[in-house]
Amino acid sequence: MMFASKEGRYFLQGNIAVGEAAIMSGARFFAGYPITPSSEIAEHASVSLPDVGGTYIQMEDEIGSIAAVIGASMTGVKAYTATSGPGISLMGENIGLACMVEAPCVIITVQRAGPSTGLATKPAQGDFLQIRHGTHGDHMIIALSPASVQECFDLTIQAFNFSERFRCPVFLVLDGIIGKMYETVEIPKRDKIEIVNRKKATGQPEKFQPYKTDEDLVPPFAPFGSSFIARANGSGHGIDGYPSADANNHEQLVYRLINKIERYKEEISLFKKFNTSDADILMISYGCSVRPAMAAMKKAREEGIKVGVLQLQTLWPFPIDIIKSFISKVRLVLIPELSLGQLKSEIIKYSKDIPVIGINKLGGISIQPEDILNVLYKEIAK
């Protein structure tokens, strides 16, 4: 493997494009547990990381995997793991730990049909809400989702950059279709790719406070092993990293963990729009459901129906302002997604009087353009 060591055009699987981009981002540690349809990312890491001085380890379960990733991250190493819905469920508690200790890391989920073991080899989009709310307590999370193999590459780089900049876990949300699909990928020259590294602690080591933040609400980082003695604490803690059960301190801490992300929401909110300028009907989608939406749009446009597509690349923090501004210009919103309406449940909070119709499918089979068109024709005829 390791195609991306040189720029050029490559024919890659989505999962492999993620692996290549991870290494190009500077990731040097992977801990994971095999699960379909994500396993190629682990296999790629096991082969590729040693070539760049990195380490791969297969843990006993996903709980151990995310724990090891967080531990590795606190030594200053960029770390990642890959799994599917069942693995994210197991990681739940430690995802909150990553938020609380402010460990930058990337968690890739290649979604499959649930609940439980569900249809292990079949795609779905059922992790949308669990990545946001799977761990307990108030917190904010960043989640990006690619809809092509090229975006698998590009958004993996972006996911590592966001995790480093904001010192938080970032989800990269694929699905069984996008992860397993092969497409051509353009890999740019290394110096054309922006790589962000976490802010480092400066000043006198004796005066270092591991959770003292700058203006941007993000604390500068000192790796384990440096003369800046670091403390990572999953319990309520003061800026010195020692425990604190003080009510005001807890309130400030939780607000800061949320606001360090919320404040930069506009920069974090990535999306693509297609034919939206004159559209009076809008489809909002992400991941594997974007293509059927695009095909349906093309067909509808041929028939003179003014349909546009809004593709969300950033799922969380939920791009409320973007959603609102696009929805306000149309008379109908369609949400194709491979779940019973998880994305829709979020959008209807902001849609006011504009009708929002979900196009949903179970069974682990991709939504077809016809599925969308059938609903579209019916709605127009009303």
Binding site: F29, G64, G71, L97, S227
Partner: protein, 268 residues
């Protein structure tokens, strides 16, 4: 004693929050003395803890520290060590943290012989949550969730870890602080492989109270009476060993650590 371990102790936060008579202070003191004996620099130590009474140990350390979730100290320590092999990584776990909720991590870490030191304080119950039974609570013991006597047998954790493949396994009790220091010090000197030190401790507040044992002094006396060295134990029958605490080195082999093996296999 020649060493006092002071430089590793955050004296502003003393006294310890542990109850009067708790064994954790003895383990903590012996551990920091072992660190000093080996001249470890604070910046080269990472103490990883989970949740439980002994999981509060990092609060009193001046070294790097990671205080994480219940049962997950060992996999966090695994990630720390693999990402920076130069560090001395200690996972400080109790019997609940290390041998119950985190039991699977413990046996797999021992099997892969990951290059960390685990110091387990085994007080036979969940102290922090009020004295419920754990994976090491002995048969028939009274706890807050086994009022009529515990149904299950407890793990013999050191034997478990030995059979899982750890290169260095030693067990002692809080009645012998010198031996705690000796074993931890030896574990530090060995540098490689999974090194496991189990210390049988006491919880007078809960376990002692429920089982109508004497105060801390009485409980330590009881431990002393029941303690037998592993060499002597080899000559005794299972019947004679009933209710005995077998202390000593359960395994002391120089098996290659995980990191050495990994580097060989990937040819780096």
């Amino acid at each position: 004693m020649k060493y006092n371990g002071k430089k590793y102790i955050k004296k502003e936060l003393l006294p310890f929050f542990w109850c009067p008579g708790c064994g954790n202070g003895i383990i903590f003191a012996a551990m920091t003395r072992a660190m000093e004996e080996n001249n470890l620099k604070k910046k080269d130590i990472v103490a990883v803890t989970g949740i439980g009474c002994w999981g509060k140990a990092d609060d009193y350390l001046t070294t790097h520290a990671f205080h994480g979730t219940h049962g997950r100290a060992i996999p966090v320590a695994t990630g720390v060590k693999l990402a920076n092999p130069l560090l001395n990584v200690f996972a400080l776990v109790g019997d609940g943290d290390g041998a119950t909720i985190g039991g699977n991590h413990l046996i797999h870490a021992a099997r892969r012989n990951i290059d960390i030191i685990v110091v387990m304080s085994n007080n036979l119950n969940y102290g922090m949550t009020g004295g419920q039974y754990s994976g090491t609570t002995p048969y028939s013991s009274i706890t807050s969730t086994s009022r009529t006597g515990h149904v299950e047998d407890g793990f013999d954790v050191s034997s478990l870890v030995k059979s899982a493949g750890a290169g260095y396994v030693a067990k002692t009790t809080i009645a012998n602080p010198r031996m705690i220091q000796k074993f931890i010090s030896k574990a530090i000197k060995k540098k490689y492989g999974f090194r496991f030190i189990e210390i049988i401790s006491i919880c007078p507040t809960h376990y002692g109270k429920y089982n109508k044992m004497n105060n801390a002094v009485g409980m330590i006396k009881d431990i002393k009476q029941r303690t037998i060295n592993i060499k002597k134990a080899e000559q005794l029958s299972p019947k004679e060993l009933e209710n005995k605490i077998i202390v000593g080195e359960y395994n002391d082999q120089n098996i290659e650590g995980y990191i050495q093996r990994y580097r060989k296999k990937i040819n780096k």
